[in-house]
Symmetry: C2
Amino acid sequence: MSAPLKVLVDGGRSDASWPLDRGLHFGDGLFETMLVRNGRARFESLHRERLAAGCERLRIEAQPDAIWHEVESVAAATGSALLKLIVTRGLAMERGYTPTGREKAQRILLVYAAAADDPLEMQAEAVRLRSTLGENPLLAGIKHCNRLEQVLGRAELKQLPAFEGLMASSSGRLISGTMSNVFLVLEGKLVTPRVDRCGIAGITRRVVMREARAMSWAATEMDIPFEATARCSEAFITNSRLGVRPLTSLDGRALVIGENARELQRRISGQDE
Amino acid sequence: MSAPLKVLVDGGRSDASWPLDRGLHFGDGLFETMLVRNGRARFESLHRERLAAGCERLRIEAQPDAIWHEVESVAAATGSALLKLIVTRGLAMERGYTPTGREKAQRILLVYAAAADDPLEMQAEAVRLRSTLGENPLLAGIKHCNRLEQVLGRAELKQLPAFEGLMASSSGRLISGTMSNVFLVLEGKLVTPRVDRCGIAGITRRVVMREARAMSWAATEMDIPFEATARCSEAFITNSRLGVRPLTSLDGRALVIGENARELQRRISGQDE
């Protein structure tokens, strides 16, 4: 079985190839969200590394040189922006789930206006969601395009509402926010959930781990019960757009913003790398 | 934040809207695979019902009348075919996971040549895979477009190889094949895995439940440990393309094809509905 005889898009016959993209059919792809500042994609080398790890895990044969050359030239031309890069496995050569290994990866780069937020002044409130995250070690950590769980999490959050919603795995562990990683101060120690059964290994999360270590405030990756959020003294969320954003409340309980967290926020906010 | 300033597809500037489809970004959509025979999509009313349930679960506002009118006219014009219908939430109105609720669902209908297999003569071999399925009650049962687990399962299967690979949930229960539902005869009873924590509520699975009941061979939906496959006396897999396909071996162990299974196969193969 190979190409379809006919393709209809919203009722009209289409000869375009995009309706065959496996990204569309199965979420068979990866993405990166990057903040561009001063003409450069922040932490580009880390994004590049994660994308490469994702491609290897899913056996997507992307062309990293072309991808990153494009990111660099768009970043240079734009100065300040938010980039979303999607790399899919490419067009379905045959019907069905099986990759043939002959697909040609497709890349899509979307350039958005950067928000004008000053991250150092920003803080956020978070709540715990009922929407959960399924566990799959083969998919954990990478930033693939199967994101319905996040979509459902955001839809739940919208009803509550709060800035961010924290999500548990199906086995009841705290994993992340809907669009961020999360760090807690528990019994005086900085901890963050492991992302080896679900969740995304965030770039800012990684930078936080590194910078906190440099501040002698090393963060430990561990299994954290979802209920532990009721016991933390501080918490912050991280992503490429927000940087480090302290939580002033969690499920309505007030949290302090510690000096270490503010220091971490300043250190990371100042870096372009 | 709203529309992107610029979109590049494989290096070229694009003004097309499809790069914004949430199906592509997040697998934020649903699909149905239907066999067309004698100018009709088999079990259309059941596919219609499942798609509606999926739309309700994901809060996708599809236009069922337009969709099914199109399916019917394509089926009538084609006579014999395999249809893949994809319904996505539509274009991303804003950046990020949150649906705005103002998206306009997009439908894609792909028409493939039908295979010439005679299902009554076909049988299959299956093996158990190491690739697993994450559990998420909010996504279980519906045929959504987050299918990387199946893609990974098929990739694993290709290395082995066998016709179908059976997959367990992260909690060690038998759930389904990579592209099929599964029924076992265990201690003389017909059983099939529950699909309330993961897996897809297959249309042929549902028809099998109904027809088996009519034959006084009622199938029970239950939690089945993955290891139970070593104890079954018979097994068959089902999907819309294959119908009921008995397994002649499972992990290399020979299985018989029982009279009931053959009878079920004949009954369902003869129906167009």
